[in-house]
Symmetry: C2
Subunit: 205 residues, 2 copies
DNA sequence: TAGATTGTTAATCGATTAACAATC
DNA sequence: TAGATTGTTAATCGATTAACAATC
């Protein structure tokens, strides 16, 4: 175990391992090897062993890794051994789809609040909560202590909403708006822009 | 100009530059510098210059880059100087949201077809097309010559749908299903799984 | 001209791979 | 035991940064 500075690129691979392990577990497997896991995610066996060994000795020579044990360890490391409440900002098509997304269950997250600035949407029920007025983002999110938000507003409103979220104490933003946003350096942003991902593939067509 | 083998990591940054340039253009700017662009996207100025110079000499000493010229060049390189028709597979919440997403316009893509296997959805109108039977994916997509698909089915059906798409001639899949999929090596996959992206940030909370 | 900024080279830094002793 | 697979080291590979001549 050498818990020094773990490079972000390794942290980024852990959720991918976790997802592949889930797939193996769903298929009924109890153990796996770095070779098998590597083939599943397209990463070399050596790299997988090296990544995992940053955090401890979780495998056994000759037999590989216990899937449930390794999943538990990865969940601990990634802090998804608990349930994080998340807030959705912007209840358009994507926000509503995410409010009803059932893929959060058992993976560490639960949608707890949603906001919009459209009076026709405010007060309506979405999944198991009421859509709140976007003007109250700062009060509501800071009162609830929510640290994670899904930003689903149009590109033109994204920066303003991001500013509100930062002031509310949010430290992790998943940005579905197709635009870059600027945030304080203690706030992390991940971009989910279908066009950017598609443009990365058209080069090879 | 040294158009040899361009590393994928550079190709992956070009759409990010393009998106930031769009933001500058929207704000009325005509030129920018590697320093300004770098601050916007969080990448060093040296790296931006190096990335861009892989494809030609698009800047001018002293004044930087013409935004519209550089955007044209990046669009050429990424092959989004045209409009690619894309197919949506799975018209649940996310598929429907993407069918109505207006962020594709002017960025190289247009949703041309959609599929589902639910009889209640087949034949219904979504945006400007009719939802087709998922059983016809191979025929319809290959007949239309579509090369790009958005995979929006549940995790359990993702692999089967991916197999159909590969057989239909699709070469680029944007996978919204929260599971890894295996595809022939001439097919590219990008993953858009909100949980994976969120789990990458919780480590730092 | 003077100031600014590119394109490019060389140096640095970091990530990946190959190999293998240890051991289940 | 024999075979399999880990954890780790050293070597390789590739990406990033710093620096600066060229030049707009």
């Amino acid at each position: 175990m050498t818990t020094e500075k773990i490079p972000d690129i390794i942290i980024g691979r852990l959720p991918i391992y976790l997802r592949a392990l889930q797939r193996l577990a769903d298929a009924g497997a109890l153990t796996t090897s770095s070779r098998e896991l590597g083939e599943l995610v397209g990463i070399s066996a050596a790299q997988i062993r090296k990544d995992i060994s940053q955090f401890g000795e979780f495998g056994k020579q000759g037999t590989g890794y216990s899937i449930s044990f390794l999943m538990d360890k990865l969940r601990d490391i990634l802090k998804v051994d608990r349930v994080w409440e998340i807030a959705i900002v912007g209840m358009g098509g994507i926000g509503q789809a995410l409010a009803h997304f059932n893929g959060f269950v058992d993976r560490g997250f639960r949608v707890g609040m949603a906001f919009d600035n459209d009076p026709k949407k405010i007060g309506r029920k979405a999944a198991d909560f009421i859509v709140l007025d976007a003007a109250t983002i700062e009060d509501e999110i800071s009162a609830r202590g929510i640290k994670i938000a899904l930003l689903c507003v149009p590109a033109a409103s994204a920066q303003e909403a991001a500013d509100q979220l930062a002031r509310a104490g949010v430290k992790a933003i998943l940005n579905y708006a197709p635009t870059s946003i600027s945030v304080p350096e203690d706030v992390r942003v991940q971009y989910i822009d279908p066009v950017t991902h598609l443009q990365r593939m058209t080069y090879y067509l």
